[in-house]
């Protein structure tokens, strides 16, 4: 349909909408997060869902206790090596389409605790992260901003073609291998198919 016809129909009181737009609109406005608090950031996540910041205005207030009903995993806090297998397992149990927000410095990179022996240096060693929120902890507004960023990402997705999102592709895995606890560290310590750190080059 061309733009002129759409505006003409709209003038006549008929709203037309593409399937892609409708699908993305539906997905982006009902992101149900998993009620999953790890550490300090979880308190700011709860604060974001409370009266002052009111996450419900974005259709994301339904914190599901079970991963089977959730679309979004907000990794809110430090992921320790003892907890990492459970985090991956929870992600694997979520149905597609699923998204991950790494909230706070600890979830992105280990943050202030990254030099600890039991702290995973970033949840993106095991999971694909869609949006990162720096801050320690980020304000509730920052979480809302990240949610809006995610909504923008979702509404811009194409349903067909090579750029289609992960959950519509057959080559992208829906589940990731769960690490196990070894004698000194996690085994494996990182998911090498996922974690490709940037080679740092500085002008010498």
């Amino acid at each position: 349909m061309d733009q002129a016809l759409i505006s003409e129909l709209k003038r006549q009181g008929v709203i037309t909408i593409g399937l892609e737009t409708l699908y993305n609109w539906g997905r982006s406005n009902s992101i149900w997060p998993l009620g999953f608090g790890l550490a300090c950031c979880a308190i700011e996540m709860i604060a974001a869902s409370m009266a002052r910041f009111d996450l419900a205005r974005f259709g994301a207030e339904v914190f599901r206790p079970s991963p089977r009903q959730a679309d979004l995993m907000i990794v809110a806090g430090t992921v320790t090596k003892k907890m990492a297998p459970q985090v991956v397992r929870l992600y694997n149990q979520m149905p597609e389409p699923k998204y991950v927000i790494a909230m706070g410095a600890c979830a992105i990179s280990g943050g202030p605790f990254k030099q600890g022996y039991n702290v995973l240096k970033g949840v993106d060693r095991f999971l694909p992260v869609d949006v990162h929120i720096p801050g320690c902890p980020p304000r509730p507004e920052a979480l809302i901003h990240a949610l809006m960023t995610l909504q923008r990402i979702i509404s811009g997705q194409k349903l067909t073609g090579p750029d289609r999102p992960r959950h519509l592709r057959t080559d992208a895995p829906a589940e990731y291998p769960v690490p196990t606890h070894g004698a000194h560290d996690l085994e494996p310590a990182r998911n090498s198919s996922l974690w490709r750190p940037l080679k740092i080059t500085r002008e010498a």
């Binding site: 009620g35 550490a39 700011e44 206790p65 003892k82 605790f113």
Partner: protein, 401 residues
């Protein structure tokens, strides 16, 4: 003299010094019931909506009755102590915020107190007042939120927690104006505080303190007379006085069991001896007592805040001898403890004369208060485990550190 080293003397009733086993309810089973197939083993957590974070309990149930409970820790073990041994004394201050992330001000104070003891620093009067004001505000917001979470565990989804967070946001606004951050204040320094109060802060705080009783009245009207709350909390998870002392329980939980031990009164750290306040005590030690005791403590906190906000003197806020950089205390050790909202929060520091502490130990009240979790839960229904855990008031950042 009884030789306690002999294992047969351990844990026996009647012996002086042996732990009191009276609370340990021994469940009775029929011959068939002892078969393993009739028991249900549940791993509650680490991702569970009621465990207040990443805490895990391995439960063994017979029907709905708990017959064994083993807490499993470490899912938030962030190596705070190890990191602190590798950085300077000052650098550990922002990390203490993240211990009990509800109460960064009291954590700061406990650490500052330990370092001040170690280095022999004096705190100016104005800083002492600021410390008391911030600590009592912290206690208010911690207890309010705790009650909200406890009600959430009872099944009151949202409403009391929403009210509690409404009040908490007001206190966090004050903290943000004072220190720059809502939760992680990083406000206190060795020998005082970081910056002086911003203009108008005291007036705002006075207004908040004047308004706070209205919220408490509302909360009491909403909850304390509620039949469901009473039915679910009364008589559940009773903790005896002897076991509470023996297990090192501290804070509101200890006082709910009837032990008059408040470190603000006992140690009189800071300038708490200048304020008049009462120490509420419980009679039964059950969940309802713990719940009510925190409500009463909030009223007492307000009684401390009112005169503190009135009498706060002007003057310097930090000891002139305090150094920010190149701070190297003499070799030695010190243990500083305060009455944090969760209980006795202590910092044990060993200095070897270098810029980093040789040993940095946090005495976490939340962890030690969980020692008796199994004793409280044995013989109770599985639904009550959630409430008992809620009434203990733990924060995982402090349990696992």
């Amino acid at each position: 003299m009884v030789d306690f080293a002999q294992p047969e003397n351990a844990f026996k009733p009647g012996l002086p010094g042996a732990a009191e086993p009276a609370c340990r309810v021994v469940p009775k089973y029929s011959d068939q019931g002892e078969r393993e197939g009739d028991w249900l083993e549940i791993s509650m957590g680490p991702q569970h909506p009621s465990t207040h974070g990443v805490f895990r309990m391995d439960l063994v149930l017979e029907g709905e009755t708990v017959i064994r409970l083993k807490p499993v820790f470490g899912y938030l073990h962030r190596n705070h102590e190890k990191i602190a041994e590798q950085t300077t004394y000052l650098s550990s201050m922002p990390y203490t915020d993240r211990l009990d992330y509800f109460c960064s001000m009291t954590n700061n104070w406990a650490y500052a107190l330990a370092v001040e003891k170690l280095a022999g620093l004096q705190v100016p009067e104005r800083a002492e007042y600021i410390r008391i004001i911030t600590a009592e505000l912290t206690r208010l917001q911690n207890h309010a939120c705790l009650m909200g979470f406890l009600m959430q565990d009872l099944g009151a989804m949202g409403t009391p927690l929403m009210y509690a967070f409404r009040e908490r946001e007001k206190i966090l606004d004050l903290f943000e104006a004072l220190s720059g951050a809502r939760m992680m204040c990083n406000y206190m320094r060795f020998g005082g505080c970081r910056i002086d109060l911003p203009p108008g802060w005291l007036e705002q705080t006075r207004r908040l303190v004047a308004d706070f009783p209205r919220f408490l009245d509302e909360f009491e009207a909403l909850l304390t007379g509620n039949e469901i709350v009473m039915a679910r909390l009364q008589g559940v998870g009773a903790l005896s006085r002897e076991l509470a002392i023996n297990a090192g329980i501290s804070g509101p939980m200890l006082r709910a069991s009837g032990v008059n031990y408040d470190i603000r009164k006992v140690d009189q750290y800071g300038i708490y001896n200048r304020f008049e306040f009462r120490v509420p005590l419980g009679a039964h030690g059950d969940c309802y007592d713990r719940f009510m005791l925190r409500l009463l403590e909030m009223r007492e906190s307000l009684r401390i805040l009112e005169p503190a906000l009135k009498d706060i003197p002007s003057g310097p806020i930090i000891d002139a001898r305090a150094k920010l950089r190149n701070f190297k205390p003499r070799p030695g050790e010190a243990y500083g403890r305060i009455e944090a909202p969760k209980g006795e929060l202590g910092f044990y520091l060993v200095s070897d004369g270098s810029a980093n502490p040789y040993r940095y130990r946090v005495r976490p009240p939340s962890l030690i208060n969980l020692t008796i979790l199994e004793d409280l839960c044995l013989g109770q229904k599985v639904a009550d485990v959630v409430i008992i855990l809620g009434s203990v008031d733990i924060v995982l950042g402090e349990v696992d550190r």
